[in-house]
Subunit: 328 residues, 2 copies
Amino acid sequence: MQNKRWVLASRPTGAVGETDFRLETVPVPQVAEGEVLVKNLWLSLDPYMRGRMSAAKSYVKGVDIGEVMVGQTVGEVLESRKAGVAKGDHVLTQLGWQAYGVARDVSKVDATKAPLSYYLGCLGMPGMTAYFGLKEIGQPKPGETVVVSAASGAVGSIVGQLARQWGCRAVGIAGGAQKCAYVKNELGFDACVDYKAGGLQAALEAACPGGVDVYFDNVGGPTLDTVLRLMNVHSRVVVCGMISDYSAAEPFGVKSLRSVLVNRIRMQGMIVFDWKDRYGEALKTLGGLLGEGKLKYRESIVEGLEAAPRALIGLLKGDNFGKQLVRL
Amino acid sequence: MQNKRWVLASRPTGAVGETDFRLETVPVPQVAEGEVLVKNLWLSLDPYMRGRMSAAKSYVKGVDIGEVMVGQTVGEVLESRKAGVAKGDHVLTQLGWQAYGVARDVSKVDATKAPLSYYLGCLGMPGMTAYFGLKEIGQPKPGETVVVSAASGAVGSIVGQLARQWGCRAVGIAGGAQKCAYVKNELGFDACVDYKAGGLQAALEAACPGGVDVYFDNVGGPTLDTVLRLMNVHSRVVVCGMISDYSAAEPFGVKSLRSVLVNRIRMQGMIVFDWKDRYGEALKTLGGLLGEGKLKYRESIVEGLEAAPRALIGLLKGDNFGKQLVRL
């Protein structure tokens, strides 16, 4: 059986291009003892993938040139030589950008409880990231103001809705009037500011009359620099992503760090894997809210493995609207 | 009785100049019920004073034009109408840059236990800052590497010595060979790097073969940017001062914040007043170490109130060598 897969062809400097990927057709490997053969149904695209394309040190090793692009998938088991996993089961994998794959580490997901794609989004890594980042690093108290950037995205949309659930004022930052309307009207944030409209600081000041107590940052760069100036005494910054820097040839120079000193801000980086022993707790909360209709969630779906590079490039520019997925 | 005092004459843009201060001679006010008249003996000069000279929002109100420059002093009580304080007592005050003053809030200090000037340094605000910043925000564990900037200064010198006491590798950053030799040979740090010698990153890498677990930052700017690149996973940055930005027309743009994300760094601002209920604990530790000869401490003394502006200007440029004081 033949497999199609995207491998890393070259390391981008600055913005990612389609020629940084190469589509290959290769035979599907044999299944060894303890492994399963999976047909991928959904591939998740996430901002962290830009980091893995570079050679710079990150929290895990980058993708080598010629290696399959990393990524989470949900798929169907075609053949199993692994105890506890049967043909026909649906599983979450780290098989990356390919149609089929042989995996040793998979975890089963339940198609009767939620759409399979949700295990890559609100019930998956983005959901866990929103939950633990906000709860454990942001530590919001009822009545406080929580600001989140990339607010219409997979993580940001959940952060704001959890903030509302936990008694906070939720203010989003998103790009364009359409996304802002969605964040405010459909996700139920108290306000959403369009960073593309200019005047970000004044707009945020108007949206946050009591200042900012928690900033959940997915973008870094000039947006972080602006929000820092509005932070309250003893406020917290959840450093979850820096998408604005990922594709820049040179990182943005943040000038407002004096606010960290003056306001005794706690600014802390997070990687969701640090909480992997507690995913069950987050799943219970997020699954519960979803079941009660209290968690809105939007997907941005492209069709076919071939579309993956263009979709990642769009995601890194903010073209997606909701969680970006590839249906295989 | 006549009093001499320095008032703020103008707000500096960038570097402070002597014309930003004006020396006045005015009568000493009458002592009201609940107040004491103090003859100041020692005036402390500290980097935070630069912030108070500007109109920008800080953790406390700035000095108004025409108002006496802020500062801690140790003085002798000439007249007391306050219960519990007697003529001849020595007291710690917030009377600022003046020869005499009438104060309501004073705390007694004991000249038999330590030289009076120490209550402005290793047993005063700088000592408390070093103790609580390192212990509560830095949270160093035995075997870890603690880096501190402005290592020969009032705060930095104590940070490194406490780090050694608590089982850590202490690495200083200071300006010039003389200060570095003092930090290493007299204060007993494991290493000290001269930031004026160039090649700071390579020198720090050599001095910190296991990376950096705690960075106690007194300077901000390019030094912070460099140290961030050497921080370990789950390391901590104590944001205590940003002296390199205080006199700059424009703050430095810090480009290495991606390290906060990738390494899940906790970066936290501190103001010592947040621990004022626990000063006794720090005093006990620092006083104990001092008594046992395990805490080295150096003062940089200028004579006479007239010398205060020039001494502060020098301090902000790093000309001081040890805790900067004015003997009145």
